[in-house]
Amino acid sequence: MEERGSEVERGPWALALRRFLRNRLAVAFLGVFLLIVVFVLAAPLWAHHVAHTGPNEEHTVEQITVNGEKRDVVTVEGKPIGPQWFGAGGKFFLGADSRLGRDEMVRLMYGGRTSLLVGISAALLATILAIVLGLMAGYFGGWVDSLIARSLDVIWSLPVFLIGLAVGIALAVGGLKIGPLELSSGSLWNPILIISIFTVPYIARPIRGEVLSLSQKEFVEAAIAQGASPGRVMFTEILPNLASTVIVFFTLMIANSMLFEAGLSFLGAGVQPPNSSWGTMITVGVDLLRIQPLLAILPGVMIMLTVLSLNIVGDALRDALDPRGKGRLDAALQFEAQSAATRPVREASLT
């Protein structure tokens, strides 16, 4: 009774936090995610104080001393050195990444920064766009709703990965110039824009649905009756009520965007060399899979751990913020249905 009483006194956010903390798996994976963030943020420290090299610095013809013995970073036959752990004082801790002799550990850390940056930025941009579109479509209804909803349908109906790949390759060659907007070919904004534009519908549609429902609520009608402008109603009355949905989707979209980025970069349409991301590192590693399998497996493990932790945290947030989970479930089902619909097209077209 006492506990129940104290719960009643807590606000909805405190209650959500309490529910989230009860989910031990989610808390553990939140810890994993935070560790990954710390790992990638520590990249300059490791590069400067331990590895003594930058992520793109090449050491093809250099030698290092490992336990008192001189070794080629890349052999004359073109084989990069394997993991040295602390045998060379932390240099080439995970070995060299390729025949260019770059430090794999440093690139893994910097690559993680790129992957997270692209993932978070793309998810943030997609979420902001989705909120604006979802609010307008759901609140105004009529032709505005039709226009936005059909546009989202069009984007949704496209084979996202293939279009992303084509646009990514085009931007990688010529960059982008639309009026004052100019992006160079190697800019990180290119994958960020591609990913965010193609993932907007996944968030905008459920938000629109929720706005449609919220627009019928008494507090919205009351605000309108008091003469509040549409902008004020949308952003001060409806938007705060979307917070839980937005937070959950934002978390999941980071994971989704990271996977998208990894795929695009793997196929040469995302992050451009010599910059590293976990996706580009897998591309480089695949070439050496037989002689240095860790080069491809490590970035793969990092992607998997990050995506898994974000998905588990996202699910736990959904449970905590929306215990009934209906909205999330509907959206997830829509998302899955869409993914299943586009999958065969990707397979067929890439063959």
Binding site: T60, Q272, G300, L308
Partner: protein
């Protein structure tokens, strides 16, 4: 698709590794002429693979090793190169012409006679007048090969106006006589008549890139299907046995009946496919990561090292800042470490620092720019270029992509702000050979001899007249009047010891201007499955592997 599969495989491996962690709390250089090795089976379908689709599957346009290998036994020029390995394969022999040209009028007139009774693969008779048509078509298409033929009387004007005919070519369809008059003598013209740029084509062939629907040819095989980017197929030319084979009995008829080429962009996969017998031949060498292993395991049985006469180099655009300053270009030459590139190419390249490669007449070894970062930085300080923002180009094929990344990093070390662009190998040369492509500052390239004459390394690549708006091969846009004059003068003379010495001097002169930073000469390879007779496979220094030389054991 292969890449996607590999990507999924890596993710699955990663997942398995992570679950595991969670639960516990990861040559021989044959110089003999090949031909049918003997004892092999007749017929069969050869399944081959290329790492990239050729630049074009149109004889007038293709100017890459991939394209020439793909079409060597499909489009036969008036003259051709002997079906043989090594030096013997550099010999010019009659193709559709009865014999080698009669050269008269002080080296300005070439007279040839077409063999009688020749037919294209669609049954159309081959006529002498098809030759000028092929020359005109090639020039109209702005082919990268057109500079070779601009010395024909009236060809230069034709190139400007695209209005024909070219007065320097006279033909007689009845007698099969072809008379070519040149503006001046040209010592390389016999070699150039052996290139497929000017292989005769039916006169109703459209004046457009026909890579998706290659035109009829005269060789023992014809291309029956082409899917740009994916692959193409061959069948026997039905008119070979009936007509052409009888008219040119010395030309190999081929052993296999059909061939299918598939583009597999991952050379690792290509190697595995050859090992498993899924494919029987790969056109490109094994990837650097597998090269030594394949060599050790299969040399002499399925693998052979093929020396080439080639130069791998980084070009710098001499027309635009910052590379319009010779000191900057020299600084780059000092900064590039050919030894590093030897490792990047996993020992498949031998370091050189000059235009002419070893094995080419006129080659005399020198080293103007021994690797010296200090000297490079000094020259950069002296030059003090104002424009430090540059774009660096390379293709996506390993290890050329890594060579491009290496070059990019070298330029960064010299203080440039670089943007690296990696272009799909299928259209890399088309992109960087197009004058409208923005940011053509510096990049990677290679050059394999078209024919065994040093002029071939100067005229198409470093002569001012070779700077074209499309299909350009002079990526450095190098246009020095004194060098142009010398290239032209030497090109007019027949090759002798005096000319060889002059080419050696020219090599040094050009490298003092440093339009390129050359870094090596390449060895390629033949790698076939255990079903193929390795001994019979011919690797020609001009055309690469001949389709007619493959046979099943």
């Amino acid at each position: 698709m292969k890449k996607l599969r590999a990507f999924i495989a890596v993710l699955v491996l990663a997942a398995v590794a992570a679950v595991g962690l969670a639960s516990c709390g990861g040559g021989s250089d044959t110089t003999s002429s090949g031909g049918s090795g003997g004892g092999g089976q007749k017929g069969g379908t050869l399944d081959g693979t290329y790492a990239s689709f050729p630049d074009y599957l149109d004889p007038a346009l293709s100017y890459t090793a991939e394209g020439w290998t793909a079409m060597a036994d499909v489009y036969i020029p008036l003259l051709t190169y002997k079906h043989a390995n090594g030096v013997e394969g550099s010999e010019v022999v009659p193709g559709l012409a009865k014999e080698l040209p009669k050269i008269s009028n002080g080296g300005k007139t070439y007279t040839l006679f077409l063999r009688p009774g020749l037919k294209y693969s669609d049954g159309t008779p081959v006529k002498a007048s098809d030759f000028p048509f092929a020359v005109e078509r090639m020039i109209k298409l702005n082919s990268g090969g057109s500079p070779f033929y601009l010395s024909i009387e009236g060809a230069e004007k034709f190139a400007e106006t695209k209005q024909g005919p070219i007065p320097g070519i006279k033909t007689n369809d009845k007698t099969g006589e072809i008379v070519i008059n040149l503006e001046g003598p040209r010592g390389t013209f016999t070699n150039e008549l052996g290139l497929m740029f000017v292989a005769p084509l039916p006169q109703d062939t459209p004046i457009e890139d026909l890579s998706a629907n290659p035109p009829p040819g005269t060789g023992p095989y014809m291309i029956t299907k082409s899917q740009p980017g994916k692959g193409w197929e061959y069948e026997r030319n039905p008119y070979w046995a009936k007509a052409n084979g009888k008219a040119m009995p010395e030309y190999p008829e081929g052993v296999i009946d059909n061939a299918k080429m598939t583009v597999i962009r991952n050379p690792e996969t290509q190697v595995e496919d050859i090992e498993q017998g899924t494919y029987q031949w790969m056109q490109n060498p094994p990837p650097a990561s597998r090269y030594q292993e394949v060599k050790e395991k299969y040399e002499g049985t399925q693998f052979r090292v093929e020396p080439t006469i080639s130069t791998y180099y980084f070009w710098m655009n001499t027309e635009e800042p910052p590379f319009n300053d010779v000191k900057v270009r020299q600084a780059v030459n000092y900064a590039v470490d050919a030894k590093a590139l030897e490792r990047i190419y996993a020992g498949q390249i031998t370091a050189t620092q000059q235009i002419l490669p070893p094995g080419m007449p006129g080659y005399e070894q020198f080293e103007l720019y021994p690797h010296d970062m200090g000297k490079a930085e000094e020259l950069m300080k002296e030059a003090n270029p104002s424009d430090m923002n540059i774009t660096v180009w390379t293709d996506t094929e390993s290890p050329n992509n890594e060579a491009g990344e290496y070059f990019n990093e070298v330029l960064k070390e010299l203080g440039f702000n670089t943007t690296l662009k990696q272009i799909n190998a299928d259209n890399y040369f088309t992109v960087i050979g197009n004058a409208t492509t923005p940011g053509l500052d510096a990049g990677w390239s290679d050059w394999f001899q078209d024919y065994p004459h040093p002029n071939d390394f100067f005229q198409p690549l470093l002569a001012g007249e070779s700077i074209l708006s499309t299909n350009n091969g002079n990526f450095a846009k190098f246009d020095v009047p004194a060098v142009n004059k010398q290239i032209k003068k030497l090109g007019e003379e027949q090759l002798g010891s005096g000319q060889e010495a002059a080419y050696a001097e020219l090599d040094k002169e050009v490298m003092e201007e440093a339009p390129w930073a050359p870094y090596g000469t390449r060895t390629l390879s033949t790698f076939v499955s255990d079903e193929i007779e390795l001994e019979s496979v011919i690797f020609n220094p001009t055309f690469g592997h001949y389709l007619t030389s493959f046979e099943f054991k």
